[in-house]
Amino acid sequence: MIGDETKPENFRNERGGDHSHIKGWGVDRDPKNDPTYPMKHRTDEEIEGYTWERPEQQPVDIEVLKSVERPNIPAVFGTSVPPSGLSGAIRRLAFKYSESSYGRWLPLVMADRVGEIEGIIEDLKHGHVPNIFAEKGMRSEWKYNRKTFVIKTAVTVAAAVGAYLLLTRNKKD
């Protein structure tokens, strides 16, 4: 649900201690029954919970969107592209949902598409006209896939000319 904010103190696992009062507790335990080996060299430290000696915290001097499923920002994190603009607003909303919710992931996909448009605007603001032909690697398409490339280009141009003629004719009518 929206607003599922979590605080570090919300995350607890009270396992209890001595289970000997439960008749038969552990009589069939078998350490070899462990399909996680060898990917997991089991130390059973999980039962101690989130108690390990954490690495030093990287300074949090940018906006970091954090999963509501964890109590804190991890000791290190990437600083590549902080959220900004409309796409950033959508991302902030998405991060109110848990990782098990479509409310988390589908808005992020939408934000990515919005971000693409923002990227073009940003390029233009910096006086850079994106060379979409080059960005799509069309030189290799011409070199290695020429027949398909020519057909696709011809169909695209024909469709564009057809649409233009159709629209022009409608205006004249």
């Binding site: 399909p35 990917m39 997991k40 060299h41 089991r42 130390t43 430290e45 999980e46 101690e48 390990w52 000696e53 954490r54 690495p55 030093e56 990287q58 300074p59 970091v64 969107l65 954090k66 999963s67 499923e69 964890r70 920002i73 991890p74 000791a75 290190v76 994190f77 990437g78 600083t79 590549s80 592209v81 796409s87 991302r91 991060f95 990782e99 479509y102 992931w105 589908l106 992020l108 996909v109 934000a111 990515d112 971000g115 693409e116 923002e118 990227g119 073009i120 390029d123 994106p130 060379n131 979409i132 080059a134 960005e135 799509k136 690697g137 290799s140 398409e141 070199k143 290695y144 896939n145």
Partner: protein
């Protein structure tokens, strides 16, 4: 500096005005990149399938380089060392790292608890810039970076940062026993390596399924295995049953992941409409082709949302599913030995060496499978 710059699905470029990385944590190092690859899973980003892939990110999680700067707490490596950098960003201190699951570190990714941090692989894996650049920030430099042995070819070394150990772990997770029949779905670099590594565990028969003849021809030679093009099969599952005494394979490996072809509904839902975490066709075939009580090993990458799988058959057949992002650091010593002993020659998979400046061409060639492409290495001008 020069670095790849993602501008949107199917649009990337190499920009020369990207900022140099900086030390942001005492355990950081700055690495000058010598070799970097385009991974098959980078194509999921390139095709716009991974949520929270932000415009302006530099991709690249397979790279090697020379350390040019270290933070105040870095002791295990020093300036001047030439290192392989595992694609996992791992602290070495959390409970998951201590159990050698370095792909699931809990101290490297704020955005998701399911995945650990990965270089250049969207904010869903931590928001780090990647190695398709002249320089890259490497966190937890006491843990991941491993000095490249003097005798090792850089082209071999760069493939040890992901593709070789991932293919190996696919075979390892499959629990292959002597004489087992192993079916690998996918003849991309990971599938090729998984097929090769299946023999190291004593497989009796290795079969690779794909739709690209040139890749099947390559893996047939590289991994000495049987190959079949599923486009020539009416039903790949029935075919596999036919060639395995009607019982199915002992183990199946999904080395395809989210962009599997072969089923219209999965393609539409998973690849075109993005309504599920990728197309699950290869996994579907793996589950239905394995024998009762068999093992399905998954290293193909899928998105974080739900995806269609025949879970009823998993239950009824008593299948064990094993999956995971590769724990590169755990496997690196063994992989180095396999290369040294000549059991694996990773660099033989490299078909294209492209200047970093031409990264857009590199992605298009790899994405469209042009010019017989199997594995692409990008080389920065300063390397």
């Amino acid at each position: 500096m020069l670095a790849m710059n993602f501008r949107g699905p199917f649009r990337v470029r190499a920009d020369r005005d990207r900022p140099f990385p900086e030390i942001e944590h005492p355990e950081d190092a700055i690495v000058k990149v010598i070799r970097t690859c385009i991974c098959g899973s980078d194509l999921h980003l390139y095709h716009g399938l991974v949520p929270d892939t932000r415009v302006g990110t530099t991709f690249g999680h397979e790279f090697i380089g020379e350390i040019v700067e270290v933070g105040s707490s870095v002791e295990k490596v020093k300036v001047g060392d030439r290192v392989m950098v595992p694609f996992n960003i791992a602290c070495g201190k959390c409970v998951f790292c201590k159990q050698e699951m370095y792909g699931m570190c809990h101290e490297s990714n704020p955005q998701s608890t399911a995945a650990g941090g990965i270089f250049g692989y969207s904010h869903t894996t931590g928001g780090y810039h990647g190695g398709q650049a002249e320089y890259v920030r490497v966190p937890y430099a006491n843990v991941g970076p491993t000095v490249i042995p003097d005798w090792m070819d850089p082209d071999d070394a760069v493939l040890l940062t992901d593709v070789v150990p991932t293919g190996y772990q696919a075979a390892e997770m499959a629990g292959i026993q002597e004489g087992d029949t192993v079916v690998v779905f996918g003849a991309g670099p990971i599938g090729i390596m998984a097929a090769k590594c299946a023999w190291l565990f004593g497989a009796g028969r290795v079969i690779v399924i794909d739709k690209l003849d040139y890749r099947l021809e390559f893996v047939k030679d590289f991994a000495q295995c049987e190959v079949y093009n599923f486009q020539h099969l009416e039903d790949p599952v029935v075919f596999i049953k036919k060639i395995t005494d009607s019982l199915g394979a002992d183990v199946c490996i999904d080395a395809v992941g989210a962009e599997a072809a072969g089923d219209t509904m999965n393609t539409m839902l998973g690849r075109k409409m993005l309504m599920q975490g990728g197309s699950t066709t290869a996994l579907h075939w793996a589950i239905n082709s394995v024998k009762k009580g068999g093992i399905v090993s998954i290293v193909g990458v899928y998105g974080p949302i739900d995806a269609l799988v025949p879970i009823g058959n998993v239950v009824n057949k008593g299948i064990t599913i094993r999956a995971g992002q590769c724990s590169v650091k755990r496997l690196l010593p063994k992989m180095i030995e396999h290369v040294k002993n000549g059991n694996i020659s990773p660099k033989d998979m490299i078909t294209h060496r492209i200047p970093l400046e031409e990264v857009a061409e590199g992605y298009n060639i790899f994405s469209k499978k042009l010019d017989g492409c199997i594995k692409t290495v990008l080389i920065p001008p300063s390397a």
